[in-house]
């Protein structure tokens, strides 16, 4: 058991957005791996179409989620109902002040009691905020590889930079290094997902109940 999970923590719109992210990640990863190496025949057109479609879904969802962050109010403390602007949960808060090191100690088994914090602990804030540049990096590298956009100077500049970086300054505008960075970005996002899934479920599955089914747990309504 952990703390209570209230609907104020994760409004319905976030549940939908979380589902969208999950579906997009699954489809993008699977279709991307297939495009990387078509391990069985017969699926390339579908894989590329899938990859393309969910890329747009993921990007639009990111924009929507960011806009909601600046417009919706969510609870300020884990299990609480008192609300404030959602984005504040991702920024430094009084509740998390001085708590980064105790949080690290807690997860390294150097501290017994769970540290106090806001809705998210200090490490969570870092991890969640990091997903934004990670998704943008995946999108940027993807557009740099995609035929219709690869010659745009905005993407070509990145392609050249990465190729130079891979080749001691003499890369030219070759796409291979960019392809590799795009591939590694997937592993970075997967690694985040592994950690996220692990920590969300380590004390039980209550977080899943609110995040996937919008069911409160540990509250009077539950």
């Amino acid at each position: 058991m952990s703390h209570a999970y209230t609907r104020e923590m994760h409004p319905l719109a976030f549940v939908v957005s979380h589902w969208t992210n999950l579906c997009a990640m699954v489809f993008l990863t699977l279709s991307g791996l297939y495009i990387h190496y078509p391990i069985f025949p017969g699926f390339m057109g579908a894989a590329r179409g899938t990859h393309n479609f969910w890329m747009f879904v993921l990007l639009i969802n990111l924009v929507v989620r960011l806009v909601m962050g600046f417009t919706l109010k969510t609870s300020k403390l884990a299990g609480g109902r008192e609300k404030e602007l959602d984005i504040k949960n991702f920024l430094p808060q009084a509740e998390n002040r001085h708590q980064l090191w105790p949080t690290i100690k807690y997860y390294l088994f150097l501290k017994k009691e769970h540290p106090l914090g806001g809705k998210y602990n200090s490490l969570q804030k870092f991890a969640y905020v990091l997903t934004v540049p990670l998704i943008l990096l995946a999108a940027y590298t993807g557009f740099a590889l995609w035929g219709p956009t690869s010659q745009w100077s905005f993407f070509l500049a990145g392609t050249t930079m990465v190729a130079n970086w891979f080749n001691g300054g003499v890369g030219g505008a070759a796409l291979m290094p960019m392809r590799i960075v795009h591939y590694w970005t997937m592993w970075a996002i997967l690694s985040f997902t592994f950690i996220h899934v692990y920590l969300a479920n380590i004390y039980g599955f209550d977080a899943d109940r609110i995040m996937f089914a919008w069911k409160e747990t540990g509250t009077d309504h539950a």
Binding site: Y37, P41, E113, H114, N167, L175, M176, W184
Partner: protein
Amino acid sequence: MAYEDRAFAEQLAARGVTRRDFVKFCGSVAAMLGLSESMVPTIASAVESAAGSKLYPAVWVNGGACTGCTESMAQATYPDVATVVLDILSMNYMETVMMAMGADAEKALYDTVNNNEGKAIMIYEGSVMKGWDGNALRVAGEPSLKILDDLAPKVAAIIAVGSCAVDGGWVKAGPNTADATGVSMYLAEKGIKTPVINLPTCPVNPEWIVAMVVDVLLLGELESGAILGKLDAQGRPKLIFGQTIHDNCPRRGHFENGEFVYQFGSPEEAKGYCLYAMGCKGPQTQTNCPIVRWNNQTSWCVESGSPCIGCGNFNWVDNGAPFLGRMRKVAIGSGSHNGGFAPGVAGAAVGGVVAAALGVHAIGMAATGRLGNMPDTEDVKEHDRKKGGDK
């Protein structure tokens, strides 16, 4: 347009080329230059009048090269239409085929450029070898860099033919002890502003040289400056290098259907399926090989059964090898020649390490009784407690 110039008609006849072949050829040149079909008569008459009248001074300089591009130019097994255009170049210096030797040959090189300052065309084949103060390659008793230092500022334009001349090509592939580079990079270092037209691939396709000769000399695009607008950021003609091989590949249908060759000698290979899984670099290589093809438009790499190895790419050996693999190896900062590691293995290793670390952590959580059971939250932050204690 009639046969106005009997001498030109005889030139065509001597090559076994019909008037129809000639006009078709002019059409393909027009397409490559991005001109409309209405420009075909202009091209034809430009070639016709040029062939009958003057010769354009040109020199063919070999840097660090295998002479493959020269071979490519000499590919014709019989005199063809292209030679009509190439014959208008007065190739006063070309190491492989010229008769002159020794000091006479070098004099011809310098005379051609000096006597036609701002008018001669230099075709440069091979890499620019800078190693050991330019002594990595010596021509006529001098470092070969001297030719570029002396003559590059005096020619109207340099056509860098083949990947080596464009960016060093395979000569530059690691460890690159000869410190090879491309013509445009070298000129940039030296502050020489002569325009360079880059025609990569290994070797160069002669059709592209023909197209550039027509564009630069006959249509006056160099004088008017229009040619520079037709080049991309890497100095390549956009219309020749603007689309990927994948875009125009005759096996593209098999790619979309997911029909791949996974092994040479397999039934899939016999069916002519897509070579993507065999490491084909077509999706990331920009040339019009599938359209123009090679050896008098006979065939080209993929059509004859080989995956594209990306020779039209920049730094193509370091970026493309192993040629039959989907991804190159990675050794950041030094190219793939120092061994390096496979990107797929590296990615999976990172994911594996994260998963394993979480597994170990979970064992720790179980051992401390936290699994499925969050410990009590502290009453006061550590920081506040210490601060309070101090008081």
